[in-house]
Amino acid sequence: MKELWNIYKKGIIAENPIFVLALSLCPALAVTSTATNALTMGLSVLFVITTNNCVVSLTRKIVNPKVRVPVYITSIATIVTLVQLLLQAYAPLLYKALGIYLALIVVFAIILARAEVFAAKNPIIPSFFDGLGMGSGFALAMTSIGIVRELLGMGSIFGFQILGSWYNPALIMILPAGGFILIGYMVAGYKIMLDNMAKRQAERSEA
C-alpha cells in the first residue's frame, strides 16, 4: 500500500510533468487562460493517461517490442477520440474552447513516456497508480496556472467574480505573453520549493 502511495505521490511533486519534467508544455499555455478550461484539460489528460497505462500494462506480454510504439499511439488515439466524443456530446462549449488542443493530447510526450517507461514494465495496479499520479500532477499544475491567470487577468476564478470593480484587470495575463512569463516564474518558484525540501530532508537524516 505504501509503495502504491509513493508511486502516486511521485507524479504530483518530485516528477511533476509540467514544472519538473517540462513535458507537454503546449496545453499548459494554450488552454490555461481560464481555470475552467485548464481543469477540463487536466481531467481529460488524467483520464487518457490512466486508461492508456492500464491498456499498455495489460497488453505488455502480447505486443511485440518492435511494434510497440504504433500500438501505443493507436491506443492513445482511441482513448482521445472517446474523450472528444464525450465532451462534444455533453459539454459542447468546453469542447469548442479547447479546440484542437484536445485532439493534440494524442501526441503529448508525457503519455507516451509513461507508457514506455512505466506501464510497459509493470503490472496493472502500479501502472494505474502511476497514471493517476502523473495525471493528477498535470491537472493540479494546469489548474493552478489557470487560477492565477484568470484571477489576475479577469478578476474571477472559475467564472465567479472574486475581485470587486476596484480591480483593473491585467489583460496581459490572459494573453500569450503573460502565460509565458507566469510559467517562467512558477517554474523558478517550484525549483526553490524542491531545493528547500531536499535541504530539510538532508538535515533530518543528519540529525
Binding site: A22, L23, S24, L25, C26, P27, L29, A30, P70, I73, T74, A77, T78, V80, T81, Q84, L85, G99, I100, A103, L104, V106, V107, F108, A109, L112, I172, L175, P176, A177, G178, G179, F180, I181, I183, G184, Y185, V187, A188, G189, K191, I192, D195
Partner: protein
C-alpha cells in the same frame, strides 16, 4: 490571390505557430540552445509540415469526408504522419546521406509531435482547400523557424548574462519567450481573418 497572401502572413507573424498558438513548445525550448541546430530544425519542420499537410488533406478529403468518418480524424492523422515521417527518414537516409547527416535526427524528434500534427488539424477544422492548406503549412513552418531562430540567438547572448540561480534554465527561457510573444503581439490586428 489576396486570400492566399492573408493566410500566409497571418500564419507567419500574426498567429505565430509558437508564440501565439503555443504549438511545438517542447522542441522550441529543447532545440533553441544552439543557433545552427535551430536553423536545421526550422528547415526540417517547414518541409515535413508542408508534405504531411498535403498528404493529410488528400486522406481527409477523399477518404474521411467521403465516408463520413470525420470522428476518426485524430487517430488517422497521427498514424499517417508518424509513419510518413519514418518513411521520409528512410528515403533520405538512403538517397541523400549528406542531408540526413544535417537534419536526420530532427526528423525523429518531430515524428509524433504537436508541431506537425497541429497544421493538418487546423486545415481540416477550417475547411481550407488544397492550395490554401499548402500555403498555410508553409507559412506556419516559416513562422516556427522564425521564432526558434530568434529564440536561439537570444539564448546565445543569455549565456553571458548573470541569471538568478532559481531562474536558470527553463525559467528564464520562458520569460524570454514571454518577451518575444509581447513583441509579436504588435502584429495582432494587422490582419482580420
Amino acid at each position: 490571390m489576396e486570400q492566399y497572401f492573408t493566410i500566409f502572413i497571418s500564419a507567419v507573424v500574426v498567429n505565430n505557430f509558437v508564440l501565439t498558438r503555443f504549438l511545438g513548445l517542447c522542441i522550441f525550448f529543447g532545440v533553441s540552445k544552439n543557433l545552427n541546430a535551430s536553423i536545421g530544425m526550422g528547415m526540417a519542420v517547414t518541409s515535413v509540415m508542408t508534405l504531411s499537410s498535403m498528404l493529410a488533406w488528400i486522406v481527409h478529403h477523399f477518404v474521411l469526408v467521403t465516408f463520413h468518418l470525420q470522428f476518426l480524424t485524430t487517430a488517422v492523422f497521427v498514424l499517417l504522419i508518424a509513419s510518413f515521417v519514418q518513411l521520409l527518414e528512410m528515403i533520405i537516409k538512403k538517397q541523400a546521406p549528406a542531408l540526413y547527416n544535417m537534419w536526420g535526427i530532427y526528423l525523429l524528434l518531430i515524428a509524433t509531435n504537436c508541431v506537425v500534427l497541429g497544421v493538418p488539424l487546423i486545415n481540416a477544422d477550417s475547411g481550407y482547400s488544397f492550395s490554401l492548406s499548402v500555403v498555410h503549412a508553409i507559412g506556419s513552418g516559416l513562422g516556427f523557424a522564425l521564432a526558434i531562430v530568434l529564440m536561439a540567438s537570444l539564448r546565445e547572448k543569455l549565456r553571458l548574462a548573470d541569471v538568478p540561480k532559481s531562474l536558470q534554465g527553463l525559467g528564464i527561457a520562458f520569460i524570454l519567450a514571454g518577451m518575444l510573444a509581447l513583441a509579436f503581439l504588435g502584429f495582432s490586428g494587422m490582419i482580420a481573418l
